[in-house]
Assembly symmetry: C2
């Protein structure tokens, strides 16, 4: 005996979500059907609405329901500063720092083995965007992973002849981190980037 | 800056799922919108269909799209044997053992602090079910947790005067378990239930 077709399909559909395996998908499906059918209808509706209405900002390519996202529509932001990130969640994270410039949101990082070349992640749109704006500094905020570094390096090469300063986020010890817990790669970066003590 | 309303609502809707917190919900929502909109539509549709079509079996109360679930509709199963479980996933688990009797599916366990009394988990329906069938043995397969034991004990008291044998699943060492890894409660049960070696 196995589940009936409608439950089986629901389990399979949950499994397409990231980090959800067979057992978790079963638990989610049973939870919806046994305990929270209203929650199931709400999620169904939210998915439908989001898939239909959410597109990309014409300027920075982040997810947005409007042609221009709230950040790009904000006249008060610094139009000389551009921060390149790998995805919309990164925008959310960086907004917590008080950064007041603009963003450009790539679709992840270069990954030739997965067939993700410059076109797939939006490099041509990025170059057009930079050519049509007057930026003085471009911050490459790709993740400090192997793929992120490679992507940042690739973009840096494309932009090196343009009249703007290119920067990369600092690497080193995270706040509250402990030497014995931090990995070797991070320690190497922290050593290499050590700074004179300020009095 | 935060997400746009449709994305925010999608994140909130994902958070109603068990085991899904803010970060996971964000990741799921962004995954759907950035990488797998077809998966989002599929999940939306599957939720709608399941919520609309899946009800409960008239006999055993498990989740079913038909009035009678496949197990209750199966004439070849032993109609003298009833196994009481806490939820539909338990039916799925027990079917792997080759058990050929019937089931009755409760809605979880008694939990007075959460307002879940006998009515909420389906005890009256269980008693009616047992009164209208000719069972010779009732297996209390509630989970061996504090709440499950209490629920099994409660049911056992209700059924003690009826002409049927009441049994409980054996407790002890799990297959492949190691003494040093097993908790004390399980070891106590394993000791108490020790059996003579069979030659």
């Amino acid at each position: 005996m196995s589940f009936s077709p409608a439950i089986r399909e629901l389990v399979e559909a949950f499994r397409t979500l990231p980090g959800v395996g067979q057992k978790t998908a079963q638990r989610m499906a049973l939870y919806i059907l046994e305990r929270n059918r209203a929650g199931g209808e709400r999620l169904s509706q939210a998915l439908q609405t989001a898939v239909e209405q959410v597109g990309h900002c014409n300027e920075c390519r982040t997810l947005s329901e409007t042609d221009l996202c709230p950040i790009c529509a904000d006249e008060r932001r610094d139009t000389g500063l551009l921060c390149i990130v790998q995805g919309p969640l990164d925008v959310f994270a960086l907004e917590q720092t008080g950064y007041k410039g603009r963003y450009f949101v790539l679709k992840g990082h270069l990954s030739p083995l997965d067939g993700l070349g410059p076109e797939a992640i939006g490099i041509p749109e990025l170059l057009r965007h930079i050519d049509t704006h007057q930026y003085t500094e471009v911050i490459l905020a790709n993740n400090p992973t192997v793929e992120g570094e490679a992507t940042a390096h690739y973009i840096a090469q494309l932009l090196q002849d343009k009249p703007l300063s290119l920067t990369r986020l600092a690497q080193g010890m995270p706040m509250g981190g402990e030497l014995e817990m931090v990995d070797g790669g991070t320690l190497i970066q922290a050593f290499a980037g050590r700074k004179p003590v300020q009095f």
